[in-house]
């Protein structure tokens, strides 16, 4: 798959995610209309107009649009990232700006906005909707732990996420997963005071129809409960393969795979989790900020729940590249 295909795939997947998000909310709204307002296919039912469905479709479309336009700001503010000035007196900041500029030149992209996350654990992420509206954030810990070459590798890794539009998909997912988790909480609270007016009113018409309605109601409730879990699994699955790809592109950009390899090793050695990066944005980072053991394993469960491939495998792949380079 070349760069253009990757970009197209990411644009397409972003649209699919947004559409799925809207469809999920339409489903929620339809259920609400059916069970609470008695909306149905013929006139004998309560209301004629699926008011909740239209409301949820409108709201979710607005949210999906907002996720694309302002998702990066939401992600950045949730990590309390601070923008770095173009000209800074702090030598570490100046070094970071220089390295970012170098990698922008190497990738032929505009210079992204640069942020620093006040956290002592080394980590980094990129966000935004396209290369013209991209931001790269690194933690203070990363700046103080890595040397220039290693920093270059990490920034190159983030720049390749920017270049192939990974950031667009991952940012939208971050924004929408956050919204689903929030609304699912809200929804389950709603159900408690509601209590299915519809199933009560229909029970007189015969037990068969009542049982069917009950089954549908249960399915609807279950879907509300498992939606956030599914959304998070999706977010995790979608980010894993991208890490290998971004590692490889970073090596190609810097022509120095060992710089990134030693950066990853240093990040791996610091076991503490990155506190300022929440669960919802974990899949954006260069290394899993939650410090979970599952990322060290391979296999079905790890495939399902880990946001990142095992660090040692990534390092081994990079070292392999370095070896080939020195012998070619």
């Amino acid at each position: 798959m070349n760069l253009y295909d990757q970009q197209q795939a990411n644009r397409r997947n972003t649209l699919v995610v947004m559409a799925a998000f809207v469809a999920f909310f339409a489903f929620l709204g339809l259920g609400f209309d059916y069970f609470y307002f008695g909306f149905g296919p013929s006139a004998e039912y309560g209301i004629r107009f699926p008011i909740a469905t239209l409301a949820t479709i409108t709201i979710s479309s607005l949210m999906a649009w907002w996720g694309l336009q302002g998702g990066d700001r939401a992600v950045l503010s949730s990590t309390q990232a601070i923008p770095v000035a173009r000209e800074s007196n702090d030598p570490n900041h100046q070094k970071l700006m220089n390295v970012v500029e170098e990698m922008a030149i190497a990738s032929g992209l505009p210079i992204p906005k640069v942020y620093i996350v006040p956290d002592s654990d080394p980590n980094a992420f990129a966000t935004g909707r396209d290369p013209e509206h991209a931001s790269i954030a690194v933690t203070e810990g990363l700046l103080s732990t890595l040397n220039r070459e290693e920093l270059q590798g990490v920034v190159a890794h983030e720049m390749s996420h920017v270049r192939n539009f990974d950031i667009r998909l991952l940012t939208v997912i971050a924004a929408l997963v956050g919204a689903i988790v929030l609304l699912s909480d809200f929804g389950s609270r709603m159900m408690r005071w509601g209590g299915g007016g519809r199933s009560r009113s229909r029970s007189s018409k015969g037990s068969g129809a009542g049982a069917l309605t009950l089954v549908i109601f249960v399915l609807w409730v279950v879907s509300i409960i498992i939606a956030p879990i599914l959304a998070q699994i999706l977010a995790m699955a979608v980010s894993r393969n991208r890490e290998y790809l971004a590692d490889a592109s970073a090596a190609e950009m810097t022509r120095n795979p060992l710089g990134l390899a030693s950066a990853l090793q240093k990040i791996e050695n610091v076991v503490s989790p990155t506190k300022s990066i929440k669960r919802g944005t974990a899949h954006l980072c260069i290394a899993d900020p939650l410090g979970r053991k599952i990322d060290l394993k391979e296999g079905f469960w790890a495939d399902l729940f880990a946001t990142h491939p095992p660090m040692q495998k990534r390092i081994a792949a990079l070292k392999q590249m370095g070896y080939q380079r020195s012998h070619s």
């Binding site: 030598p91 100046q94 220089n98 390295v99 170098e102 030149i105």
Partner: protein
């Protein structure tokens, strides 16, 4: 019927030629843009050198020769015309600068100075930017040249006067030379 097929074939060829021509134009613009990127960084380096020289001049009294070499290489590079000559002169400047930085490292007084450290970071960054810009330019220029040379794109390129561009290569002998390793251990 045959007439229509004939006209259709001509229309297809014309459409193909237009697409190919536009592709070449776009590549040429990208190549020019890539060259400008290198140029910006080279200028930056030229501007940085007087600063650097003035900062260390007072302390590096014994190494006037190294300093003069840097200054001479800079003015030679600033006068260079065209890609190939620039590449050669800038290569010589890179070489002189790296020797100069090695010398700076030997002066503890310079090494610990904040000012020198900052200039060193700026110089490192500029050197990196030059090499990344060169990498980007060479990649896109190679693409442009290949698109002009392969069949049937070469028909368009020849008819509309596209010319292959020069790559920004390090032609300086000092950078190419492989250090001689003598393992005979004779004194």
């Amino acid at each position: 019927m045959i007439m229509f097929i004939f006209l259709g074939a001509i229309a297809l060829v014309v459409l193909w030629a237009i697409a190919k021509y536009n592709g070449l134009i776009s590549l040429r613009n990208q190549t020019e843009n890539g060259w400008k990127q290198i140029d910006v960084q080279l200028k930056r380096r030229h501007d940085l050198i007087p600063n650097l020289v003035n900062t260390v001049k007072g302390i590096m009294t014994f190494e006037q020769e190294t300093l003069e070499k840097v200054v001479a290489a800079r003015s030679a590079a600033m006068g260079a015309k065209g890609v190939a000559e620039s590449a050669a002169k800038e290569g010589a400047l890179t070489d002189a600068l790296s020797k100069f930085m090695v010398v700076v490292e030997q002066y503890p007084q310079l090494r610990s100075s904040e000012n020198v450290k900052q200039l060193q970071e700026e110089l490192t960054s500029t050197e990196n930017k030059i090499s990344f810009a060169r990498q980007f330019y060479n990649d896109i220029a190679t693409k442009f040249n290949t698109a002009q040379q392969v069949f049937p794109g070469n028909l368009i390129a020849n008819n509309f006067g596209f010319k292959p561009v020069e790559l920004f290569e390090i032609t300086d002998a000092a950078e190419r030379a492989v250090p001689v390793v003598d393992l005979s251990l004779k004194k």
